[in-house]
């Protein structure tokens, strides 16, 4: 059972999705539902013996194209609506023990192309207003399946975090006739201390205002709004930059680094968002080896993050771990 319930205190929708309580939880490798199916093995989500990159509708979705009728009746104070949308799972690789950091840049480039195709298709649906591409990696984040994968939520509204960024970007432009993220990039490049890596199309920084110790933002140098605006060179440079950052993350504490990776693009509700600027944000939950940054009272209850570290120092740590990427190999430096 799922539905969207309006939170009048914050002015935002909350999805209930009780069926997700039954989703597969950390199965042994032989029973991974995201692996290709094997002869004589149990049927997985992918009924073929291999694949390159595959996408499927989530078996336990928070949003679905044809949702059931809400279980409760709404009111003026508490509007309720069907949880209409689409939830997809994106399988990065058939290799159960891989991670995005271990994939070749070529494979990540393929993934960028797949993300672009999914954005194009989902954004074209009349009932979809925002396409959100993300990855939760690691048990520290709460993942229930270790197989390398990401997700796409196609929402029937513009989610509040994106809405806040859109408003900030539009307000900044109105005041300065300049793009906010373009100016953030200039500020970061001029300062230099928080820059982790650069290539011709993208720059990776721990921004001045980072909320998480190793929060990293990837900004496109060129001003555009969505994956579908990218050239092939930019797609390749994005793949290269993702590989660079992910490998540095894994080197940091010599472990497979947990993170949330989120892609911020323009909405697809027919509006004009020329002042917005495509970017990717990483929120790793570790503040030190074996120590998690918890979202406690101030962060959760007041919305004010307390970062126990200095972005300038954390950026230097990561910058020192960056190595040139090799396009066809799995590792950064082999």
């Amino acid at each position: 059972m799922s539905e969207l319930r309006w939170n009048p205190l914050l002015g935002e929708w909350v999805a209930t999705a009780t069926q997700r309580q039954d989703r597969t939880f950390l199965p042994p490798e032989d029973y991974c539902p995201l692996c290709p199916s094997k002869d004589g093995g149990f049927p997985t989500e992918v009924p073929e013996s291999s694949y390159d990159i595959a996408v499927f509708e989530n078996r336990f979705p928070s949003l679905r194209e044809n949702p059931e009728t809400p279980t409760v009746k709404g009111s003026d104070l508490y509007p309720v609506r069907p949880s209409r949308g689409i939830c997809e799972v994106v399988l990065y690789s058939p290799n159960h023990n891989s991670t995005l950091a271990h994939e070749t840049v070529e494979q990540i480039y393929k993934l960028v192309r797949v993300w672009t195709d999914r954005f194009r298709e989902l954004a074209s649906l009349e009932f979809i207003k925002y396409v959100f591409i993300f990855e939760n990696k690691g048990e520290a984040i709460g993942v229930t399946l270790h197989h390398p994968h990401g997700q796409i939520y196609a929402y029937p509204f513009v989610p509040p975090r994106i809405d806040a960024e859109l408003n900030q970007a539009a307000g900044y432009y109105e005041k300065n006739q300049r793009c906010l993220v373009c100016d953030i990039q200039d500020e970061e490049i001029n300062d230099g201390r928080r820059v982790i890596s650069e290539n011709e199309s993208f720059i990776a920084v721990i921004p001045f205002f980072a909320r998480w110790p190793y929060e990293t933002h990837l900004y496109s140098r060129r001003h555009f709004q969505a994956l579908t605006d990218m050239s092939e060179v930019e797609q390749r440079d994005l793949a290269s930059m993702l590989k660079t950052i992910l490998v540095a993350y894994d080197k940091l504490f010599s472990l497979s680094f947990p993170y949330m990776m989120v892609m911020h693009q323009r909405p697809c509700d027919g509006g004009s968002y020329d002042t917005y600027h495509f970017h990717i944000e990483f929120y790793p939950p570790l503040r030190a080896a074996g120590r998690l940054k918890y979202l406690a009272g101030s962060e959760t209850g007041a919305g004010m993050f307390i970062n126990d570290t200095l972005p300038e120092e954390k950026a230097r740590e990561l910058r020192e771990l960056v190595e040139p990427v090799n396009w066809l190999s799995g590792a950064a430096d082999d």
Binding site: V55, K110, R113
Partner: protein, 59 residues
């Protein structure tokens, strides 16, 4: 700071999308890259007989 740069040459590579309707009503999309294999047409979703290929296209 290490500045990384792509040195790969352009690869003319096609991406294809093969959409399969699963027996429970959901869809599964295979993204395939590179030249079309000689036996591509023979491949089938063999594990469950009730799945159906509903669309195949270049993207």
């Amino acid at each position: 700071m290490v500045v990384t740069k792509n040195s790969i040459t352009q690869m003319a590579e096609e991406m294809r999308r093969r959409t399969v309707a699963l027996s429970d009503g959901r869809y599964l999309i295979f993204y395939e890259f590179g030249p079309i294999a000689a036996n591509e047409g023979e491949r089938e979703t063999e594990k469950t007989g009730s799945n159906t290929v509903i669309e195949e296209e270049s993207v």
